[in-house]
């Protein structure tokens, strides 16, 4: 099954939004002017990531603090070795295209 891409407005700098789309709960965020989209679910013990602090290109899970690289989905530390799913985001002007059918090219682990 091919999921359709998600179209949406670009976010204000340093803000985030949770969107249900095609069966995924997706966290889209703008950090320092760059947009990222990841699945809103910690691969360690299954909690939502959207209240986690974002700094330096990482989001920290609010439950046990696992940090995921927003670009690659890779976790830091040894609480989990499973990367979080990431989606490529294309920005054209004020609009974003979150690509569902293609894994993020940076994210080798989920291809």
């Amino acid at each position: 099954m091919v999921a359709s891409d998600l179209e949406m407005d670009a976010l204000a700098s340093d803000s985030r939004k949770v969107i249900q789309h095609e069966g995924f709960c997706i966290l889209v965020c703008n950090t320092g002017g760059v947009h990222y989209a990841i699945e809103n679910r910690c691969t360690h013990q299954d909690t939502s990531l959207d209240e986690g602090r974002i700094r330096n290109g990482f989001i920290a899970c609010p439950l046990h603090g696992v940090r995921f690289d927003l670009k690659t989905g890779q976790p830091r530390g040894d609480l989990t070795r499973i990367p979080v799913r990431t989606f490529a985001v294309k920005q054209t002007g004020d609009r974003l295209l979150v690509q569902m059918h293609k894994a993020d090219p940076h994210n080798e682990a989920t291809t």
Binding site: R53, N56, A60, P62, L63, H64, G65, R67, G77, D78
Partner: protein, 453 residues
């Protein structure tokens, strides 16, 4: 007849050299504080033996102040940094009231480490991933799932075990010994000697952590003397061979300071100031334009220091005119026992931290940081993720080190050879120079005091 330790390299001393600078160096730079600490060999077993390492782990590391992180690693409530030393681990965090606190990194239920080694991150509270016991940022046991089963447990007895924490110059130090002397006492002359520097306002620009194939003490020793510069770094070829002072202060501090861009007093025909200037300029590469002319009566050092202050000032949008020539150019390295080095100078702004590898005394970890000055009125970007290098990796992989990457490779290339030599050498111990290698002796003297106490 000179007594042992009284001999010095021919020519002027470091203090005499900088007294000729156009700008007044900080008073502390002019101080002499060498002391002869003996000339016995240092046994190789102190580096190679598991028993010795074990003894350090028991008697030294749990009792000394160690730099866990910079304050900018934990700017806001809930930010935390894990500091690991041997089998010990601490969580350093910032509480809701902006206080810095440190805890033993282990759950009070069944001991699970709450955070992974070296971790840096953020959480609202400390929640154990095993059964979900929750501790506040203040360490208090907040939530105990199924508490009907634990009538014998409460916040009074099962809150996180706090350890000592304090800050100096923007560094956060911890001490696992709750009876230990204060950090201020431990630091000795450091705060006084750093009066003229704004280290608290600096921030980490580059952080590289490398595993080294040598015992942590020998790793430190490679950075404690400038005696190796001529051979290891092919120094002295541009006639700016360093003039170095070595000083030891009670109880935990020692230093070297060496000149950059002064005349080598051992040369029969000293170079002109313009020749020295050309040698200094040569380091900067062709993009920098024409080499400045040293005016009659001025020195290459002073002219070059002005150039550096201006170019760094432009790069960071700051004013460095109050820095003296010595503060700007020289290699100023202070050591705080047992594992912390800081260079407060402007053009060489490093910090080192060494830690033993708990699994093997022949290996250690070396955190190398470059700090950059900042304007404290402006917002700062968070410190970078450390670049992790293994034994075989070259420092030149770390872009932030610039030309110094190759220099650190030269320093660390000797290390595996030293480890091998320790084991085959028939002599039984390291022989040290009385003056230039006195800091190494000071290190071992302090360790001995901890192990025998």
């Amino acid at each position: 007849m000179l007594k042992p330790g009284e001999a010095r390299a021919p020519g002027h001393t470091y203090q005499e050299a900088i007294a000729k600078d156009a700008s007044q160096p900080p008073e502390a730079f002019l101080d002499y504080s060498y002391e002869f600490l003996g000339d016995q060999d240092i046994p190789y077993t102190h580096y190679t033996s598991h028993d010795f390492a074990q003894s350090e782990m028991e008697h030294l590391w749990p009792r000394v102040w160690q730099m866990a992180c910079r304050e900018e690693h934990i700017p806001e409530p809930g930010d935390y940094q894990v500091y690991d030393i041997g089998h010990l681990s601490a969580i350093v965090t910032r509480t809701e009231s902006m206080q810095i606190k440190a805890y033993v990194n282990a759950c009070m239920h069944r001991g699970t480490a709450l955070k992974p080694p070296g971790d840096n991150g953020y959480c609202q509270n400390f929640r154990c991933p095993f059964h979900g016991w929750v501790y506040s940022l203040d360490g208090e046991l907040l939530e105990l799932p199924e508490d009907w089963d634990f009538p014998h447990v409460g916040a009074g007895t099962h809150s996180l075990r706090e350890i000592l924490v304090d800050t100096w110059a923007g560094f956060v130090f911890v001490n696992f010994d709750r009876e230990a002397e204060s950090l201020t006492e431990f630091l000795g002359v450091l705060p006084e000697h750093f009066r003229d520097f704004d280290i608290a306002d600096r921030t980490i620009e580059t952080h590289v952590c490398k595993r080294l194939p040598v015992n942590w003490k020998a790793a430190e020793e490679a950075f404690m003397e400038a005696y190796h510069v001529k051979e290891t770094h092919a120094g002295g070829r541009d006639f700016s061979e360093p003039v170095t002072t070595y000083d030891v202060y009670p109880k935990n501090v020692n230093r070297f300071i060496h000149t950059v861009g002064s005349v080598n007093p051992r040369m029969a025909v000293p170079p002109s100031e313009q020749e020295l200037m050309r040698a200094l300029w040569g380091r900067r590469g062709p993009a920098e334009g024409d080499c400045p002319i040293v005016p009659e009566g001025a020195t290459a050092r002073d002219v070059y220091a002005e150039v550096i202050k201006k170019s760094l000032g432009a790069q960071y949008d700051m004013d460095f005119s109050h820095y003296s020539t010595a503060q700007t150019l020289d290699s100023i390295e202070y050591f705080l026992f047992p594992n912390f080095f800081i260079f407060p100078g402007l053009s060489l702004p490093m910090v080192y931290r060494f830690r033993p590898d708990p699994k093997d005394p022949d290996y250690s970890f070396f955190d190398l940081y470059f700090l950059r000055p900042t304007d404290s009125a402006k917002p700062q970007s968070p410190p970078p993720e450390p670049l992790m290098l293994d034994v075989q990796d070259s420092y030149t992989l770390a872009e932030g080190l610039g030309f110094l990457g190759a220099v650190y490779d030269q320093d660390t290339d000797n290390m595996a050879a030293q480890t091998r030599g320790f084991k085959t050498c028939a002599k039984g111990g390291q022989t040290l120079g009385n003056y230039q290698e006195v800091r190494i002796r000071h290190l071992h003297q302090r360790i001995k005091e901890y192990l025998e106490n």
